[in-house]
Symmetry: C3
Subunit: 132 residues, 3 copies
């Protein structure tokens, strides 16, 4: 598993998750009759919109951290932590859509995984600088 195909697959899954959460917003826009460009107007639409935005915001900081970890530490570490992030983000999305108050666990899991990627990548980069 020591190659870059695995982080690439995790990245594709993260992009597909962003697409899925955006598709849910598109459906909610029709279903709850929130005409563009409005982004408020119905609680269920606003939940879907917040899930999409939060997923996307997190993907923005996740993908670079995943690749810095893959390149400066190794693909196995990156793939393991990246897989945990994916599980946490899917859990968060499903939970938030059903009940905003239950979104905590998935959110925390994803943040811990992201924190792990950041710490590992920082260690890998600094180690390389000192050695270099």
């Amino acid at each position: 598993m020591n190659d870059l195909h695995w982080p690439a697959l995790v990245t594709l899954a993260a992009l597909a998750l962003c697409f899925a959460t955006a598709a849910i917003v598109g459906k909610a826009r029709v279903r709850y009759r929130v005409a563009a460009p409005a982004t408020t107007g119905h609680e269920m639409f606003e939940r879907a919109f917040r899930v999409q935005m939060n997923t996307l915001e997190n993907a923005v900081v996740f993908i670079p951290a995943l690749w810095l970890c893959a390149l400066f530490v190794g693909p196995l570490t990156a793939t393991t932590l990246g897989g945990l992030w994916l599980v946490g983000r899917i859990w968060y999305a499903v939970a938030y859509l059903h009940e905003p108050k239950s979104r905590g666990s998935g959110f925390v899991l994803a943040y811990v995984a992201w924190g792990g990627l950041m710490i590992a990548a920082s260690w890998g980069v600094l180690r390389g600088m000192i050695a270099g």
Copy 2:
């Protein structure tokens, strides 16, 4: 055309498009007197804001897909699909600013191009894993 300069150029064009849509929001903020931090208050401002947000949201998932396709399939496929995405996104932005209801065609073209990048990249990554 079989090198990475072309996907790099497509990326720079996508970043420039994000900048252009943000600049339009900045102008609309002044013109329609929507003082920061408000993001609502005038229909024309809200259109510009939605165009910026939608362009940015799509750029977030576009750029990684473009590069995974370039690296795991090839720069020619990535540049062709990436160029279509750019055409679709520019079309969408211009259309939405004039009339929100006309934004569909550019939006769909860009999504199809992005879907093509995702499918191609997934195929390239999985092929590499099986061969590897």
Copy 3:
């Protein structure tokens, strides 16, 4: 300093800044009692939210420009301009939270640094195409 550890470090700092601005929003949500999924309701919360969004929007276009500059021009140019971007973005965030009207200087510095990355990267990519 001619290696990729420096742009990697700038990237990690940019990701950490995104995290910090998101954490400030989380705190403001509790402090000013703006229950999710609402994103409006208190001026101080809205400031924090706009800082987070603007930082993130800018990180989206910053990270690819930084790496294109690092790869097609050189890590020293990328790190210098990337460091200026970081200074500008931190300045912007601190200033906006205290007084929205004072956010201009940091914002402009970061935009100039980003513009420099875009111009340098474009020059590096086009030079490579002509030479290639």
